[in-house]
Symmetry: C2
Amino acid sequence: MITMKDIAEKAGVSLSTVSKILNGNDRYISEATRTKVLQIVKETNYVPNAVARGLKVQRTNTIGFILPDISNPFFPEIARGIEAAAEVHGFALVLCDTDNDPKREQASFNLLKSKKVDGLILTRVLQHSALNELVSRRLPIVVVDRRVNTTGRDIGRIIVDTRSAMRDITKLLLARGSSRIAFIGAQDDFEDARYNGYCDALAGYGLKADPMLSYRGTYTVETGHTGVRAIFSHTFADGLVCGNDLIAVGAINELKALGLRVPEDVRVTGFDDIYLARYLSPPLTTVQQPAYEMGRTAADMLIRNILFGDALCTNNLGYKIIERESAL
Amino acid sequence: MITMKDIAEKAGVSLSTVSKILNGNDRYISEATRTKVLQIVKETNYVPNAVARGLKVQRTNTIGFILPDISNPFFPEIARGIEAAAEVHGFALVLCDTDNDPKREQASFNLLKSKKVDGLILTRVLQHSALNELVSRRLPIVVVDRRVNTTGRDIGRIIVDTRSAMRDITKLLLARGSSRIAFIGAQDDFEDARYNGYCDALAGYGLKADPMLSYRGTYTVETGHTGVRAIFSHTFADGLVCGNDLIAVGAINELKALGLRVPEDVRVTGFDDIYLARYLSPPLTTVQQPAYEMGRTAADMLIRNILFGDALCTNNLGYKIIERESAL
DNA sequence: GTGAAAGCGCTAACAA
DNA sequence: TTGTTAGCGCTTTCAC
C-alpha cells in the first residue's frame, strides 16, 4: 500500500509538504513542487488513508444510521436521502438495522461508538439510557420521523405533523360517510400521535374512540392481518385507518379474505405513501411523507453541525393527503 | 473521551496489560488484575477506539456494500442479510447507493478505499477498470446477483441461475397457452441471462424470439410502462415476461390503461418476488430469489475470507417459481 | 517555502 | 505475570 511518505520520497520533498498540498494548505507552497507532487499522486493512484487521518484529527467523516427495519420501504427512501447528502459532503454512511431488537440496538450504539462516527441519525429508540449517554458525550444526533422524547436534549429533529395528518385523513373518511372507523397502529408511536390524530378527527364529529375498534401491533403487514381479524371478529366497521401502508396492505388483504370489499364495505387508508402504494389493489389512499427529503435534510443538518457547528434544530416537513381508490 | 491509558492508570497497571485483557490474550494475566481492569472498564463505560486499532492492525472490521438503487425492494432485503451476518462477526457495514451513476460509483470506490474497508460486496459494476484496480490491490470482493465479468479474478460470487429461472417461467406461460410472448428487461443483465432464458424456452417450443416483442430499459416501474407502450403500440402479445418485479408492476399498470386484462388477455410474470408481489393486483407470478440469504451468504463468505483466509468461491443459490394470479 | 518532530489511541514484540 | 517501546499514516505547530 502506498502512503504519503512514498509520495514525499518520490517527489523529493518532505511528508508535511505533501500533506499541506493535499489538504489545500498550499498558500506557501511553490507552484513547482505543488504540480510535481500532484503529478505523482495522480500517477500512483494514491488515496489518503482516512483512518490514519481520522485518528489524528479526531474526525472520521462518517455518520451512522440506525433503523428498525429496512424491509419497510419507507426506510430505504430515507436512507437514499441520507446517502445523497452524505455523498455531497464526502461522508460515509454506516448502516445498522436493529430488526426492532433492543439487544441489536445496543450493539449498534456500541459499534458506532467504537467506530467513532461523527454523528448519528436515528429513526427510533428502544433504549433511552443508551441514547442519553451518547448525547452526554456530545455526539451530534438527529432523529427522523419516529420522534423520541427529546426534551432538554440538544438533538436535531426532522418531523412531520403526523397527528394532524392522521386527523386529516380520518376526517376524509368521515366526510365520505364512514361512521364507525377503526384504527390499527403500532405501539411505538411517540406520544401516540397517530392515534391521537384519529381521536381528534372523531371528536370533531362529536364521536368518541371506541376501544373495541382499535388494535396495536408493529408497523408490518402481519399486524394488518391480525388487527382486522381481532376487530372484525367481534364487531364491524365501515372505515379503517392504518398506522402505515404496510399495515393497510395486510388489512386490505384480510378484509378481502373476510369477503368485505374495499372501499365499498370498508374504506381503508394508509400512511407513508410507499412507492408501490399506487399499484396496490385498490390503490391506497394515504398520507405522503417526504421520506427522501427527510433523509436528505437530516443528513445535511447533521453534517453541517459537524463541519461548521451549525445548530441542530427542529425541522417540520409537510405532508400531503394522497387520494386514491381505497377510500372513495 | 476516555482511553485505554486512563483505564490503565485507574487500575494501576500498564497500557499493554489492559490491551491484553481486552483482546483476550489473558493467558498470563492474574485473575486479580483481570477482574480489576474489567471492573473499571465496566464502570467507565469504556469502548475501545476502533479507528486507532484499525490503524495499528491494518484491519477496520468494516465492509462496504455498493448497490445501484436502494429504492428497488430487492436490495434492502440483501442489505438486511448482509447486516445480519456482519453483526454476528462484529463488522460494520458502509452503504453506498450509486443511483446507477458511474460517477457516483467511482466516488464510492474511492471513499471505501480511503476508509480502508476490509472487503466489498457489489451488486453491479459500471466501471470495470476501477474494479480491476481494487482486485489487484487484493481487496476481497464478492459479487451478488448482477454478475460481473470475473474470469481470472479472485472474486466470490453469489449467483442464482437466472437464465434457467427465466426459461422455466417462460415455459410456464407457454404451457398455459400463450404463444406470442414479449420480453421487457434491462440492458445491464450480465450475459443477458434473462433474455437468453426467455429465448431458450421459446426454442423449446420451436419458437424464435421476435425483436419486435422485446424491449430494454432499466429495472424500474417506468421501464414497464414504456416497454408496454413500445411493444403494444405496433403489435400484440398474449404473454409478457419481465426482468424484475418492478418492471412487471409498471407493465401491468400500463396494460390495464390500454384496456387489456391480466391474465385473461396477457399473462405477465415478474422476477425477484419482492415482499409486496403477492399483494399486487393481480398477485404476481414471479421467480423467487432468496435475497436475504444471498446477502447473508455473501457477507459471511467475505468476512470468513478476511478473518480466516477462507476461500472466496462461487455459491449457487436456488430459485423458485411462485405461481400467483398474473399468469393463470 | 519547506522540514522536523510530536502525537492521535492502540497492538505486539520484546524485556524484565 | 507485567511493563517498555516502536510504530501504524497522518496533521500541525514551530523552527529554519
